[in-house]
């Protein structure tokens, strides 16, 4: 059984930009430990000489001509924004 600690859960949550309460961290600690332990079933297999694949299709390096094309306007890009100002997305301050 691989045990993921509460500290690890909080670290991973931070990487994932998620906020977890103490209660959630406790629950996730147990659930993730259980799922990761289950995933270690894969260690039964010797994969030393096996190449990993990222997807199952044969496509490689699909390229297209680098030509300009019309896309959305600035106004369209902003119309679903939670907050905007002067034609830009507005966000809370980044620096303290």
């Amino acid at each position: 059984m691989t045990n993921i600690s509460k500290e690890q859960v909080k670290h991973v949550a931070d990487l994932a930009r998620l906020e977890v309460s103490e209660e959630e961290a406790d629950m996730l600690k147990d659930q993730l430990s259980e799922i990761i332990t289950y995933a270690e079933l894969l260690n039964e297999l010797d994969t030393t000489d096996v190449e990993p694949i990222t997807h199952a299709s044969d496509l490689k390096n699909v390229l297209r001509k680098d030509e300009p094309a019309s896309w959305i306007t600035k106004e369209e890009a902003l119309k679903n924004a939670p907050d905007q100002k002067d034609g830009l997305f507005r966000v809370p301050s980044i620096l303290e």
């Binding site: 998620l18 289950y38 199952a56 939670p82």
Partner: protein, 487 residues
């Protein structure tokens, strides 16, 4: 008999002969929705005003072309529809009322004059096998509303089964079209990876996701896929291959077809009544002149573990875009980092957060090789298993799901038990091959059982041929749930 008991080809004829109008079809759709959707809960958003206007325009138009002319359809809510609310059943996108563009599949359907009836409920961001992870409400199985419709395309399958629309679009990452199709007694196809453009499908796991049709008949399914399939400059993973006319494959002839039946697909965990229904189906194939043999897919038992590492890892990366900046819901905070964290924590549901956490962990420094890379290597082995089988056989047949639909609430406490519902569908996504679920019987409790037919890469035609021959030789696809009276 409902109008939706007819195939699209039959309705086309009726429209052509002026026996019916497009407005009648759209009426039938909304009438049924108003009758049963307070029990089924398949729809998140209705497009009634636009649909009725479109119907009127089509009835008045001189040009009645289009292979889906006037056909009412429902669209899974993770497929982007221009100016029509698209939420992925997530509170994160609760206010995403005005999407800027249509997904490529929507463009293609619209070019054929399909009518969008509304957007369908699902597990949030397509993560789930029961629809219980919707951020809004739980879609119910029309055959018995105590039971789940399956997931994640639960609304897509339930709406077709309940006769609310003639067909729907779903998406399938680990079984999300086939498992609900199986639970709801309808036909659901996951095409080959790369067959249908994913442009405008909100990404869950990019190397596994595919859009596909859910219908009442194999013929309709083939007809819709003909519209959806094909290369798209906006999706670099869509294949540069010609699209066959799938309806031409429906020859009713499976003489000499070689069927592989993996012993792992009828083993432990598969319920006796599901096993029996599949064995009966194999007898039907024998009687039609096909032959079958038992084979082995030796890495099947690793499928669920492989899938949850790969899919969650890809999801953790794909869902990073939901940050409360450009669209979606934003939580108030004093600084940028807190705004990200609060928006994401309030917007995402429990299962989505669990998978983002799992994926982030598997990709994090020190764990990447042990989990993510390991899973990618096992994926190679699983793909090789399938490639080897298709050197000798035309199709692989087994159950779609190990059991019929389960009750609402039965599996919500334990993620791993829930994940096991996808054990027979996941390998198909990992290998990238096409798979269909068609009805093959009812359980003792009167719930549908699905037969899964899997084909070689880009050989949907053979899958459809096998599915259609079985359908025509049996009457399972004619059975309807009794919800809301005659359907």
């Amino acid at each position: 008999m409902s109008l939706f008991d007819h195939t699209i080809r039959e309705l086309e004829e009726k429209l052509h002969n002026k026996e019916i109008k497009v407005a009648d079809l759209v009426d039938a759709s909304y009438k049924r929705i108003h009758e049963v959707d307070d029990q089924v809960h398949a729809f998140l958003t209705l497009n009634e005003e636009n649909a009725r206007t479109a119907a009127q325009e089509m009835d008045e138009a001189a040009d009645k072309s289009g292979s889906l002319f006037g056909i009412p359809a429902g669209i899974k809510d993770n497929i982007v529809t221009k100016a029509l609310r698209t939420t992925c059943a997530s509170k994160m996108l609760d206010n995403f009322n005005d999407p800027l563009y249509d997904a490529t599949v929507m463009k293609k359907l619209n070019e054929q004059n399909m009518i969008t009836i509304g957007k369908l409920n699902m597990d949030e961001f397509a993560m789930g096998s029961s629809n219980e992870n919707s951020g809004y409400f739980i879609t119910r199985n029309p055959w018995n509303t105590d039971y789940v419709p399956g997931g994640s395309s639960g609304g897509s399958a339930a709406s077709v089964a309940a006769g609310e629309v003639l067909f729907s679009l779903g998406s399938d990452t680990g079984g999300s079209i086939r498992e609900p199709a199986s639970f709801c007694g309808v036909v659901g196809m996951k095409p080959t990876y790369g067959r249908v453009s994913r442009f405008g499908l909100v990404a869950f796991a990019s190397s596994l996701d595919q859009i596909g049709p859910i219908t009442r008949s194999v013929e309709d399914n083939a007809r819709v896929l003909e519209v959806l399939a094909g290369q798209d400059p906006n999706d670099s993973t869509s294949a540069h291959l010609e699209v066959p006319k799938y309806t031409d494959a429906l020859t009713n002839d499976v003489k000499g077809m070689k069927i592989a039946v993996p012993k792992e697909y009828l083993g432990e965990g598969v319920s006796p009544e599901v096993k029996e229904a599949v064995e009966k189906a194999l007898k039907v194939y024998e009687s039609l002149g096909a032959t079958w043999e038992e084979v082995s897919l030796p890495h099947s038992k690793y499928a669920v573990a492989t899938y949850y590492i790969i899919a969650s890892s890809e999801a953790s990366s794909n869902l990073a875009r939901f940050d409360g900046v450009r669209y979606g819901v934003r939580a108030e905070a004093d600084n940028m980092m807190d705004m990200f964290k609060k928006s994401r924590s309030q917007g995402f549901g429990e299962e989505v957060k669990r998978r983002i956490m799992l994926g982030t962990f598997a990709l994090s420094s020190g764990y990447y090789d042990a989990y993510y890379k390991k899973a990618q290597k096992v994926r190679t082995l699983m793909k090789n298993d399938y490639d080897k089988i298709f050197e000798e056989y035309d199709v692989v047949i087994g159950p779609t799901a190990p059991t019929p639909a389960f009750k609402v609430g039965e599996k919500t406490d334990d993620p791993l038990t829930m994940y096991a519902s996808d054990i027979l569908t996941i390998p198909v996504n990992l290998a990238g091959v096409p798979g269909i679920s068609i009805p093959c019987g009812l359980s003792d409790d009167g719930l549908p059982i699905g037969l899964q037919i899997i084909g070689n890469h880009f050989d949907e035609s053979t899958v459809y041929r096998a599915a259609h021959a079985f359908e025509q030789a049996t009457d399972h696809h004619k059975k309807r749930p009794q919800i809301g009276g005659a359907n």
